[in-house]
Amino acid sequence: MTRYAPSPDAACAAVDDGAVLLHMRTKRYYSLNETGAVIWRLLQDDLPAAEVAGRLVELYDVDRAAAHEAVMRLLHDLTSEALVSVETA
């Protein structure tokens, strides 16, 4: 199973309409919109991608396929910026 773990080099500040992430090593900062911030929080709770998508289905009016696509797209972005690491068991 593939798990995505938030980088220990990332600091997050959540606000009402999203979150800002700081990458303490690359010295870049990132804005996540509201949905992105929810996904980040669920990743911090150590949920696998499939469960994150499942939570989005519960939280929002979205079908599982669209939620999964949104999660995987964000994970791709976060991984390419070294904000999450990929662990394959």
């Binding site: 600091a11 700081l22 090593r25 870049r28 990132y30 804005s31 949905t35 992105g36 999660v71 910026e81």
Partner: protein
């Protein structure tokens, strides 16, 4: 909430630039290195202390002062006071407003205009913010308020000071005495920029926080103070925030514009 929003878990990226005046900062192992570009002089921040590095002893006093000021920004951060590249002005009700923006965005000019309307000034190119209970408080970072003498048509009193304009300064700035404040509760953030047309619009907390990080880049120094610094910016970003696009026509009305913007 619709599916379209759920499907838009987007991330946007911005680099942090560690530069203030003539000083660049970089991390050197566990320490922070401050380098004055023109003087090629260095100061290190080690264990909360400033330690002179190469070129410092022979640097001109102005370069040493600039290095010391940036060093002070870093050290104050360790005491829960966070520098923000913003003007700070206190309205007649005793409430502080932060006017943040990039260099040349009009912070000093607007602060000077506000001072002419009876506001007091915490700083025109920087303020310190700190958390005090449920409040975000702004503290003074006093330096001479410098206004472009080319604005004499809007501010006629500047004509008497044109001769004092700094030589070789394309903006022909002069320092002006204005009424000062020492600290006050922050009630609003205003991100200012020059524009062709005037507009004031509300900013959400995410946009405000991103803009604040840009104007307080020391938040991303990788040390034990990063999280409290980020939390202070987050708390500030939760305050009412605006983007003010301004033209010369607003120089005499900015006080009214701001007071009308806050419910």
């Amino acid at each position: 909430m619709g599916g379209a929003r759920a499907a838009a878990g987007r991330v946007s990226v911005s680099p942090v630039v560690w530069r203030w005046g003539g000083v660049d900062a970089s991390e050197d192992g566990e320490h922070l290195c401050l380098m004055h570009r023109q003087a090629d002089a260095r100061v290190f921040v080690r264990g909360g202390r400033l330690v002179s590095g190469s070129g410092y002893e022979n640097a001109a006093p102005k370069a040493r002062r600039e290095l010391a000021r940036v060093g002070a920004i870093v050290r104050l951060r360790q005491r829960g006071r966070y520098f923000v590249h913003a003007a700070g002005a206190v309205d007649p009700q005793g409430r502080a407003w932060l006017l943040a923006g990039d260099s040349g965005s009009g912070k000093s000019t607007l602060a000077y205009s506000l001072s002419r309307s009876g506001w007091t000034i915490l700083g025109d190119d920087g303020v310190l913010i700190e958390l005090a209970g449920s409040e975000v408080r702004a503290c003074a970072w006093h330096a001479p308020l410098e206004v472009s003498s080319t604005l004499a048509s809007a501010f006629p009193e500047l004509r008497a000071h044109v001769a004092r304009a700094r030589p070789n300064d394309p903006r022909r700035r002069v320092s002006m005495n204005v009424p000062l404040a020492s600290r006050a509760r922050v009630v609003a953030l205003v991100f200012v920029e020059r524009a062709e047309c005037h507009a004031i619009t509300t900013l959400g907390p995410l946009a405000a926080l991103g803009a604040l990080v840009r104007q307080s880049p020391w938040v991303i120094i990788d040390d034990a103070y990063a999280c409290p610094h980020l939390d202070a910016l987050r708390r500030a970003a939760a305050l009412p925030s605006f983007r003010l696009e301004h033209t010369p026509a607003e120089l005499h009305t900015v006080a009214r514009i701001l007071m009308e913007a806050l419910p």
